[in-house]
């Protein structure tokens, strides 16, 4: 009792847990309750109750209200859907000039805007694509198909792969030096001789449009949020939700608005990539010391000069992290948007995964990852580049990169021309190596997978069965056994204990939204998978991080590994786990664990690093040993930062759980995937996405509030 009096918080937490468990035991599972599987919601079941709200009929299973709340928000997806369709097809019809038919035509405003936007996007993507690969579309855009028929020569020829490879190498050399140049050259050669040239260039053209546009818009919005409190306030909730919104969920509404194809993919990618860019721009600009701004002002900068010559370069570190994020998201989306018809490596990857051709998937995945790493490093080097004013250089030295490129260009063309004679009857390998004619190691990998399966089948199977039967199933059952009321009490109580009434209200609102949506059961399954992933990830991440922290070089190495792993598009993680565990929940969970361990490890190392040196010395002088120092000094001080890592881990885990729907899970992700092929899916997809985002935000709110308090307490805010 003495102990409890001294620590009132512990008493409060105990009380909360007791109430929670009491509620769990007090509320029986209703007899009519069943976990709704598959398409059940779409079939009219006589046992279902209905209610009508805002003209929409909502069907649901009427359970005991304490057990599961009625889906009062069931009308929301339908309503979103109808609104979207109304906006697109009936809202504000106006007269627009139609170029093809040469007459005015009546069209709804939004549809016209969407058509113009997609037309514009398609044009730039095609332009870049055709510079790299050749084609007709660009010229058609300026002239007409008749013109092409009349002039068969009018076609962009495309660049031979040798020139693009040489160009990438020279550019890398100019930006960073030998190391990156070699990496760029090898990457390009690998892509080419493995026959991935065409899809890679398609993906690249997609990225080269999406990434710069996201960067520009993100930077612009970040700047305006920095300058105006009002803009910031308006953007903030959107940014918050978008941060934890699974990328899948945005696909469906975009499908309705922009149709199918590369242009829609670019627009969605921008929607996903812009928020982190805005946040990091804002963060960087906020951190600029006021004296630097004053120094800029006193140097006579006008507002424009101050922003672009002083503020943005000074905030470069954070803005660069933003660029890195943008590139990461773009590649991630390059794969995911294959669902809505984007061409390129992502499409091949999905196809290969669908056919369970692990070898092919591996090659495509490696290509995407290599290009992602290359672009990331190039953008980084570009931002860090400096000019030499004093080197007295000759004309050749100053322009050697341009000269080399022109040389490579000519040689490439000559080679391609020679190629037309060399490979008269087959393909011109010096121009482009076709998809199915490259070297492929797919068979090797597939055989390897078969071999692993044959050899270790017993063990894998045993592990799999053990995990599913003895760990996952019971855990899932426990989660589903929680009455809705008990869960809400637990979450809101935690919110109150951590952050007071404000936090409690926010968390309560978020939880209620999910509880009142028709997908509470699914949300529980998502949460259970994420929880499992997060726990294991944190255990691994914190351990690995702590161990690596013991040696400086190991810590640096580990952070480098994290950097590279983070650049991999999230989908790529599914390849190796499917190799080993096939299509099971185990695969998804292992992908989740691998993916979510990255932030856990990173933040552990960073947190431990941030402990001031002075404290180390003070501790050493007090005569602590290494272990005592770790437990008494470093962990308590690094803990807030490590908790931020936990926050990221949760977000990463949720993302991967949702993507795991591709393998087959019974959670929210499954429904999002299903919504993709449903003509009324837009509202459902969006609402589901918001549900997932809210799960993330509940944890985000609790952890952040706790961390802020703790940091203030420790005086390291």
């Amino acid at each position: 009792m003495e102990f409890l009096k001294k620590n009132p918080k512990i008493f409060q937490w105990l009380f909360l847990l007791i109430v929670f468990f009491a509620l769990c035991f007090a509320i029986e599972v209703p007899e009519t309750y069943k976990f709704i599987r598959g398409q059940a919601e779409f079939i009219k079941d006589p046992n279902q109750s209905t209610f009508v709200f805002a003209g929409k009929e909502v069907r649901y299973y009427a359970f005991d209200v304490f057990w599961r709340l009625p889906p009062l928000l069931g009308w929301l997806p339908i309503w979103i859907n109808d609104s979207l369709f109304f906006l697109m097809n009936d809202w504000m019809p106006m007269e627009f000039w139609n170029e093809d038919t040469q007459e005015f035509k009546t069209r709804p405003l939004l549809l016209q805007i969407s058509r113009n936007l997609t037309g514009f996007m398609t044009f730039i993507i095609e332009l870049i694509r055709e510079i790299l690969l050749g084609g007709l579309e660009t010229i058609v855009a300026f002239t007409s198909w008749d013109f092409i028929d009349a002039n068969p020569w009018a076609e962009l020829p495309g660049l031979p792969w040798t020139i693009v490879a040489a160009g990438a190498t020279i550019l890398s050399y100019k930006l960073s030096g030998k190391g990156l140049a070699i990496f760029a050259g090898l990457t390009m050669v690998y892509i080419s001789i493995f026959g991935q040239w065409k899809p890679s260039m398609q993906t690249l053209s997609f990225i080269l449009v999406a990434a710069p546009l996201s960067f520009i818009f993100g930077l612009g919005l970040g700047i305006s949020a920095f300058k105006s409190k009002r803009v910031e306030k308006a953007l903030y909730p959107i940014l918050l939700v978008m941060q934890t919104m699974p990328q899948y969920a945005v696909l469906v509404p975009a499908l309705v608005l922009f149709g199918v194809g590369d242009h829609a993919a670019v627009i969605i990618t921008m929607i996903v990539a812009i928020p982190p860019m805005i946040l990091l721009t804002l963060l960087g600009l906020r951190a600029i010391p006021p004296e630097v701004i004053e120094a800029g002002r006193m140097s006579g900068c006008n507002n424009w000069q101050l922003m672009f010559k002083v503020l943005i370069p000074t905030a470069r570190r954070d803005i660069l992290i933003g660029v890195n994020q943008v590139i990461m998201v773009c590649f991630s989306m390059a794969v995911i948007s294959a669902f809505i018809g984007a061409k390129g490596l992502g499409f091949n990857l999905l196809l290969a995964l669908n056919q369970l051709n692990i070898g092919l998937a591996l090659e495509a995945g490696l290509c995407i990852s290599l290009i992602a790493i290359l672009l990331d490093k190039m953008s980084l080097a570009w931002a860090n580049k400096q000019t030499d004013y004093f080197g007295n250089l000759s004309f050749f030295e100053r322009n050697k990169n341009t000269i080399f490129f022109i040389g490579a260009f000519i040689i490439g063309i000559v080679l391609a021309y020679i190629g037309t004679f060399l490979f008269k009857d087959t393909f011109n390998y010096l121009f482009e190596i076709p998809h199915n004619k490259g070297i492929s190691t797919a068979d090797f990998w597939n055989k390897g997978v078969d071999w692993i399966f044959d050899t270790f089948f017993v063990y894998i199977k045993a592990f799999n069965t053990w995990l599913i039967q003895d760990v996952l199933q019971p855990m899932r059952a426990l989660y589903l056994r929680m009455p809705a009321i008990a869960t809400i009490v637990l979450v809101v109580g935690a919110g109150y204990l951590i952050g007071g009434i404000r936090s409690a209200l926010v968390v309560c609102g978020l939880t209620l939204f999910i509880a009142l949506s028709p997908w509470w059961d699914r949300a529980l399954v998502t949460t259970y998978m994420a929880t499992f992933g997060v726990i294991v990830s944190c255990l691994i991440g914190f351990t690995v991080g702590t161990l690596c922290f013991q040696s400086k070089s190991a810590a640096k190495f580990m952070l480098g590994v994290c950097d590279i792993f983070q650049t991999f598009p999230s989908f790529v993680y599914l390849i190796p786990v499917m190799m080993l565990f096939g299509i099971t929940d185990t695969s998804v969970l292992i992908a989740v664990i691998v993916y979510a361990t990255i932030p856990a490890t990173r933040y552990t190392i960073e947190g431990l690093r941030s402990v001031p040196v002075g404290l180390h010395e003070a501790a050493t002088m007090s005569g602590v040993n290494k272990f005592q120092r770790l437990t008494k000094i470093e962990f308590p001080l690094a803990f807030p930062h490590m908790m931020l890592g936990l926050n990221q881990t949760i977000v990463f885990a949720l993302f991967m759980v949702i993507i795991g729907a591709f393998i087959g899970t019974e959670d929210l992700g499954q429904y999002i995937l299903k919504a993709l092929s449903d003509k009324n899916g837009a509202g459902i997809g969006l609402t589901l996405g918001i549900c997932v985002a809210f799960i993330g935000l509940i944890f985000d709110n609790l952890i952040r509030t706790w961390v802020d308090k703790r940091k203030k307490h420790l005086g390291i805010a």
Partner: protein, 343 residues
Amino acid sequence: MSEAVIKCESVYKIFGENAKKMLQEANGNVDAKTFQENGCIVGVNNASFEVAKGEILVVMGLSGSGKSTLLRCISRLTDATGGKIFIEGQDLLQLNNKDLIDLRRNKMGMVFQSFALLPHKTVVENIAFPLQIKGINTDDSISKAMDMVKLVGLDGRENYFPRELSGGQQQRVGIARSLAVEPDIWFLDEPFSALDPLIRKEMQDEFLRLQDKLQKTIMFITHDFDEALKLADRIAIMKDGIIEQLDTPAKIVLNPATEYVRKFTEEVPREKVLLIEDVMDQSTSDNLGDLRVSKDEIIENVAEKILTQDKTVGVIGKNNKVIGSINPTKIINTVFGGRKNGN
């Protein structure tokens, strides 16, 4: 005093939401406490002074005394709440944005306590920055910046980044940057406060050397009274936004206007601050010895000579004419005596 380059007339800076309104209601009688109760903080309270061409005015005060705020009002990094500020006769507060930028590009330079260098630019790029902002092309601005690099003695380090330099070197860059556009008015906001004592002394000497050469009109902010005495033509001592006393170092040491100022002067080694002129008798008695000392000598340098004399020593002015006298006991009194009495 020649014509005033900077002129302030009852400048007020008050932070808070309805500062303007409250200032009007106060009718020139601003009381910090009343304002604070109404949610306003008084930064500068009724500051009036002039800075002449080529003069070094040091504004001295402890942290929170409003000295940096005053400087920021005069450079218009913040807008003063009330009063008038003239720069070379131009009303600063009436300038539009374009004129203000012009003024800063051509007339003003400023050095900051934390150096405020641009981290992404090298030494020479940092120094060339204000020139490039003005629109001078790269070659010219870099060559001009190289001159400045030499002026502050950083040759050979022009391609270093700020993070690769020591504090003293960084501040040399800050000084060079502020001087690159050849401004007439030079603002220094605690430029040496972040430096080690030895480096600080070195930089103070460097500053005096530069000023000797350049003859700028200077406002120098510091919290270090010794630094103020060493550098200033005149010192303004601030407390709670009010200028307590504005005078030459010698007069401040000899006649502190308020109890607050006196506290600073108590520990000052006067023989190092005061000149013979400050302590001599105006009367020239006939009973002078042979020794003559110049009125511009610092006491410390001639004290030994005077103290070994029996007779009163004659003080000579510009044309070797005797303009006053000084008695050895006067020296002893000045150096050792009557400190607590303020005499």
